[in-house]
Structure formats: structure tokens, C-alpha cells
């Protein structure tokens, strides 16, 4: 399976000399096309920083990223705008991510600057909203405070889909949602992979969720990628001490704390 995105020795350092923090430390990984990859780690692991590096929201200290064959490590403002047609994101906080003064229509229309034809723009809106399970007239005139948390996240995904991106990065997209609302958002991500051939990269601290969604799993600890591989391997045959400890500490429905799950 060919790779959509390749990262080599990706590093991000904050601060100088004695105060420096290596938030991401020589991370190498590949995102194959049409897959869901989960980056799993606890707070301080650098997973959110990694997401922002991939998205081009933070400058990279060293290393390289190749997207679809092109080097996208250092992007000027114009190139970045082009990059953002292929790479989009959904963030954690379903309220903070919205401009509270905008209706859904306003939000979605912003992405239509590059689509001059009004009819096409309207068709894309309907399509994007449809992919996440909304009828246009139900939500188009609403403000964020009139929508529930789960609905807002799905609208955010719809916004991301307006550009028909090749890669969607979901940074803790469901951590602030209840378990039963979460499921809808997760299912949307799976559908994106299956029906729209989108590659998805999810960032999460919830290893169970990663287990449900992902084809490939990357485990991070203190900026270092300690383990990576197919989900089944990483979860049920972990090699690294940290992965084993993580799995043992997670409460499960069947079995006790302290047991590493076995397939």
C-alpha cells in the first residue's frame, strides 16, 4: 500500500539550551493511503504537537515530512494554503473550535473561496453535511450554541470535508463527548475511510478507541515513538515496556486492572 505521508526523524524542540523541551523526538512513521492510524499516548507524550507538525501549524525543528511525494517540511504561506486543501483537521473542543458568532452556513462557506461557482459550492455543502448525517436545512442556519457537542464535532468534520482532503487529522476529537455520542463521530471517521478513500490520523489517549478504529497504531511516550505496528499486534502482543504498562493500567470491562489483554 503506498504511503500518503512519510515522516522521517521528525523533531520539535521548544525553548533553548537548558530549558529546552523535546516535545517530539526523532519520530519516524508512515501513513499508508486509505487507512486509519492512531497516535496513542498520555498527556505530555507529544502526540498533539506531532499532529500540529503534520498539519503545518507549527514549524518543524528538524526532520522531514513528505506528502504525496512532495516535500512539505518547510512551507511558505502560499504553499501552506495549497497543502491545506489536502490536509484538514478536527480539534478537541467542540465549542472553542467554532466562531460563536457564525452560523453553520458562514462556517462552511469560508472554505468555498476557491470554488467560484455558487451551485457547485452549494452541492459540496450538501454533500459534506450528508456524509456526517445531517440534512442541510436542519443545521445550516444554526449557531454553535444551538447544537449539542456531538453535533458540533460532526459539523467540524463536514467543514473539513468541504475541501475533499486526502488526509484528515482528528486531535482528541471525541474526548469531550459522552460515550454514546462519541460513537457517531467515530463511525463517521470509519465511513470516510471506506467510502471517500480518506486517510485518517487520530490522536487519542484512549487506547480502546484506537483499538476500535485504527488499522495502525503508534505509541508515544515523552516525545519518543516507542512502538508502532498493526493495531492487533500492538494491543495484543506489545513489545515495549511502556505499551505493556499502558495496556495494563487501562480498566477493561472483562478482566481486571493490571492484566495486559490477550487476543
Amino acid at each position: 500500500m503506498d504511503a500518503l505521508l512519510e515522516a522521517k526523524d521528525l523533531t520539535k524542540v521548544f525553548g533553548h539550551r537548558n530549558n529546552e523541551v523535546r516535545a517530539v523526538d526523532n519520530v519516524t512513521f508512515t501513513l499508508p493511503k486509505k487507512t486509519i492510524t492512531a497516535v496513542v499516548g498520555e498527556s505530555g507524550s507529544g502526540k498533539s504537537t506531532l499532529a500540529r507538525l503534520v498539519l503545518g501549524l507549527l514549524p518543524i525543528t528538524s526532520g522531514s515530512i513528505t506528502f504525496d511525494g512532495k516535500d512539505v517540511t518547510r512551507l511558505g504561506a502560499h504553499d501552506r494554503a495549497v497543502y491545506w486543501r489536502d490536509v484538514q483537521a478536527v480539534f478537541q473542543d467542540p465549542f472553542a473550535a467554532f466562531n460563536q458568532f457564525f452560523t453553520v452556513e458562514r462556517l462552511l462557506n469560508r472554505s468555498l473561496k476557491l470554488v467560484p461557482d455558487k451551485a457547485e459550492g452549494s452541492a459540496r455543502r450538501e454533500e459534506a453535511l450528508g456524509h456526517v448525517g445531517f440534512k442541510v436545512e436542519d443545521v445550516i442556519k444554526k449557531h454553535p450554541h444551538e447544537l449539542s457537542g456531538g453535533q458540533r464535532q460532526r459539523i467540524m468534520i463536514a467543514r473539513a470535508l468541504m475541501m475533499r482532503p486526502k488526509l484528515l487529522v482528528a486531535d482528541e476529537a471525541t474526548s469531550m463527548l459522552d460515550a454514546s455520542l462519541r460513537v457517531n463521530v467515530l463511525n463517521v471517521l470509519t465511513d470516510l475511510r471506506d467510502k471517500l478513500d480518506t486517510t485518517v490520523m487520530i490522536i487519542t489517549h484512549d487506547i480502546g478507541q484506537a483499538c476500535y478504529l485504527a488499522d495502525q497504531m503508534l505509541v508515544m511516550e515523552h516525545g519518543v515513538m516507542v512502538e508502532q505496528g498493526p493495531t492487533k499486534e500492538v494491543v495484543f502482543n506489545p513489545q515495549h515496556r511502556y505499551t505493556k504498562q499502558l495496556l495494563a493500567d487501562v480498566p477493561k470491562l472483562h478482566g481486571d486492572l493490571g492484566e495486559v489483554p490477550v487476543a
Binding site: L55, R85, Q88, P94, F95, A96, N99, P144, S148, D178
Partner: protein, 335 residues
């Protein structure tokens, strides 16, 4: 938006002043420059001598009403000028960051360090003709720095919010984000800053006029105080020549400041004190624990409550909580 009693009180004071300023000259319609009496005549009656006369025999009340109008207008114009400059500089500096911010803030800090009263005085002295508008402009041009700093601080905090990143990734440009994603979040703050600017400008104009640098052709409250001092009203004990202007000036400043502080409560829900007796005012979506998502900060100020917002039914269904079945059942089911 819920307005507190403090707000209504402040608003009524401001309106009172406005009514006096607009209607006053119509009631006491004597020309403020006309001599209608002797030197420092004490107050009598309810006509144009209700506050007596000043050093030139002019009606104090007429001067007061017209003067207050001047002061307010100067305050308003200066306030608009200062707020506009401060807002623009602060907004661009706060959002753009980097070198732009350094340069703009550097300019602001220099402007802030120069004692504005000195600049105002120098400019006033330098001008051949001082009318109301030029005075207002001078005051406005020297009063903007603190607004710029405050707005910049607010803009910097908005800059890091997620909706800005979302806007960038949607392809919005610099000015679009500035105007639609940053500015609306600052508006409440800017309104409050504007009120403070107006209040400050009125006081500055009064200080200038008291020093004799006021507008050369019309009366203002400060001018009245200047005359009172210069022509010995205090010495003579003609309290009606300087107490009323002072009181009115204080009232204007006080009511504007009170308005500003009560607006703070409107815009910032966390400051609201609420009523002590039930039912308590709850702003839409807050404090009902009806959030339908888990806030990691759990401070209860999150919005959610779509169910409460959409609840249209009146509180008819009272037995929803009532003392229906107790959960210690009589039947024993299978386990």
C-alpha cells in the same frame, strides 16, 4: 443579556445628564454670554437666576447647560478618536505578533511614557485658534496608548484559540480573520474601553480649560471653573459659581464609570452575583449541569444545554419529581 440593577441606575444617571444637556438650554434659554445681573449675584427663583450669576453677570445655569453640552461633545469625539486608534493598533499588534507587534507596541510604549498632559498643553498653546473639534482631536490623539495595550493583550489571548486555527485552515486571510474572528470577541471589551475614554476625555478637557487652554469661543464646564478661580469666586464665597460645575462634572464621570463597571458584569458571566432568593437568574445554558459534553475543566461555564434551550413546555408536569414509588419494592423478582 441580563442587566443588573447597577446598570439601570448608571444608565438613568447618564440619561439624566443628557436630558439636562439637551433640554436645559431650552428651559433656561437665556444667552449664556449675556449679562443678566450683577457680579456674583446669589441664586434666586427658578428662572435664569436659579444658580445666580458669575463674574460677568452671566447666568450660571445657562452656562452650565451649554457648557456641559460642550464637554460631552468633546468627550465623545475624543473618545471615538482614541478608541479607534487604540483598537486598530492593539488589534493588529496582538493578532499579527512578531516584528509587527514589537514595532507597534514600541511606539505605544513611547507614547505612553510621554506625559500626555504636557503634550496636550504644548499642542494647545501652539495652535492659533482653539475650537472644540481641534481640542477633541488633540485629546484623542494623546489618550489612545492604554487602549492599545489593553486591546493587544486581549487580542493575543484570542489569537491562540482554536477557532482561529480552524479559520486559517479554511483558507481565510489575515484581514478576514482579524475582522470576523478576533474583533467580535473583543467588542464587549472595546465598548467598555470606549466609555472610559469618554469619561477620561471629559475630565482632561476640564483640566485644560481650567488652566486656560480650553476652547476659545464657547463655554465648557472647565471654563466655568477657570473663571471661578481666576475671578475670585472662592474668595468671595460665591459657591454657586464653582460648586454646581464641579458637581455636574463629578456626576458625569461617576455615571460613566458606573456604567462601565456594570457592563463588565453583563459581558462576563462569571462576575454576576445573581439574586439571593430563588428563582435565580441563570443565563441560557449555564449552571444547569445539562452540558452534554464533558468539559475537562469542569467549571460549569460551558455552554451546552441544548435540551434546556429547546424546552418549550411550561412547568406543568409537577409530579415528575413527586413522591411516587419508593425503590424498596414489595415484589421480589428473580436475580
Amino acid at each position: 443579556m441580563r442587566f443588573s440593577s447597577r446598570f439601570y441606575f448608571a444608565l438613568s444617571l447618564v440619561l439624566l445628564v443628557l436630558v439636562f444637556v439637551i433640554v436645559g438650554p431650552l428651559i433656561w434659554s437665556v444667552d449664556p454670554n449675556a449679562s443678566i445681573g450683577g457680579l456674583f449675584d446669589p441664586p434666586q427663583g427658578v428662572g435664569s437666576l436659579i444658580l445666580g450669576t458669575d463674574n460677568e453677570g452671566q447666568s450660571v445655569i445657562a452656562n452650565l447647560a451649554n457648557g456641559a453640552r460642550t464637554s460631552l461633545l468633546v468627550g465623545l469625539i475624543a473618545g471615538i478618536v482614541a478608541t479607534t486608534i487604540g483598537l486598530t493598533i492593539g488589534l493588529i499588534a496582538g493578532y499579527a505578533g512578531g516584528l509587527t507587534e514589537e514595532i507597534l507596541m514600541g511606539m505605544t510604549n513611547i507614547a505612553l511614557a510621554i506625559p500626555s498632559i504636557v503634550v496636550v498643553i504644548l499642542l494647545s498653546v501652539a495652535l492659533p485658534q482653539r475650537n472644540m473639534v481641534t481640542l477633541a482631536l488633540i485629546i484623542g490623539i494623546t489618550a489612545w496608548p492604554w487602549t492599545a495595550r489593553a486591546v493587544r493583550a486581549q487580542a493575543t489571548s484570542v489569537r491562540t484559540r482554536e477557532h482561529i486555527e480552524v479559520a486559517k485552515m479554511s483558507g481565510a486571510g489575515f484581514w478576514s480573520i482579524l475582522g470576523w474572528d478576533v474583533l467580535p470577541y473583543l467588542l464587549s471589551y472595546v465598548v467598555m474601553a470606549f466609555v472610559l475614554q469618554v469619561s477620561g476625555a471629559i475630565l482632561t478637557e476640564s483640566s485644560l480649560s481650567m488652566l486656560g487652554l480650553g476652547p476659545s469661543n464657547i463655554v465648557s464646564i472647565g471654563m466655568m471653573l477657570n473663571w471661578a478661580l481666576a475671578w475670585g469666586a472662592v474668595r468671595v464665597g460665591a459657591w454657586w459659581a464653582f460648586i454646581p460645575p464641579t458637581v455636574l462634572l463629578s456626576l458625569i464621570a461617576f455615571s460613566l464609570l458606573l456604567l462601565q463597571s456594570s457592563l463588565d458584569e453583563v459581558f462576563n458571566p462569571r462576575l454576576r452575583r445573581g439574586k439571593k432568593i430563588k428563582p435565580v437568574a441563570i443565563p441560557a445554558g449555564q449552571a444547569t449541569r445539562q452540558e452534554d459534553y464533558i468539559s475537562p475543566h469542569s467549571d460549569g461555564a460551558a455552554v451546552g444545554a441544548s435540551t434546556l434551550l429547546s424546552a418549550e413546555a411550561a412547568l406543568g408536569n409537577d409530579n415528575a419529581g413527586a413522591f411516587a414509588d419508593t425503590p424498596v419494592p414489595q415484589e421480589r423478582g428473580e436475580h
